[in-house]
């Protein structure tokens, strides 16, 4: 008997997997943001950190890390780069010398105005590809929570 040409479909096609769709959408966002953020001198993760700090500074590295789900191994060097860029200050807390408090500088605060136009650029890029009803947002949050819950269990 000759071998059949029909592929053994033991694994789903790459393009039909949810994980791959999320992976690709994430890359597409990163790429889109890269050009939009270039003139601010920020990378995409740095922009997320600034967004968090514009929402309220004086937070600890740990609190920031929990909000972004990033650990100190990622944040410490990133925050140092933001400090070198003159956008934030990092100073040890007086009450608890273990923690480092993050504060916006004048320049960091000022960048908020310029950064405001970025989501608008994004909105135009997305156009009408996404319903503005937040359905996709809700779906993604549910997905994330389910994955994290499962990861905790084992």
């Amino acid at each position: 008997m000759t071998e059949t040409k029909v592929p053994r479909r033991t694994t789903a096609r790459l393009e039909e997997q949810l994980c791959f769709a999320v992976y690709q959408a994430g890359h597409a966002f990163t790429r889109m943001y890269r050009s939009a953020l270039a003139e601010l001198g920020l990378t995409y993760p740095q922009y997320l950190v600034m967004l968090a700090l514009w929402d309220g500074d004086g937070v600890t590295v740990k609190a920031l890390g929990e909000r972004l789900s990033l650990d100190s191994g990622t944040l410490t060097p990133l925050l140092k780069r933001l400090e070198v860029a003159g956008l934030i200050r990092r100073e040890r807390s007086r009450e608890d010398e273990r923690q480092v408090l993050l504060h916006l500088t004048e320049a960091g605060e000022a960048l908020r105005e310029k950064g405001g136009c970025v989501p608008i650029t994004m909105g135009r890029a997305i156009g009408d590809a996404v319903h503005p009803d937040g359905r996709l947002l809700g779906d993604l949050k549910r997905l994330r929570d389910a994955l994290l819950k499962a990861a905790d269990q084992d």
Copy 2:
């Protein structure tokens, strides 16, 4: 006059941004896959490459890169690691010496069976957080395409 405590809402809240939701879901997937793939000895991007090759090997680095939207700077070292692990072979094409063809080894082919259980693990993790109707998948594809189209234009 004292300064008001009302935050100037010039930027949307981090948690309500689509880009952040995609970013977080992507991380959650990566984390979930990390543990599921540990026993296969693969990282998540390596698993995606294997998925693509299980779907048909003998492809060029360029073709693989287009499918995954990754460039040679990312793929070359990753593929070398897969080669060292004994899962693939990389050989220059006879007809066109510029291109490198990727082939599965016996071990790489065999790994397909073990890899088959990974999406099942994932499906269980996701549970009923995502409708199985592919709505989310479709939404993400549309989002990705819109972002890529916009990135091309400028």
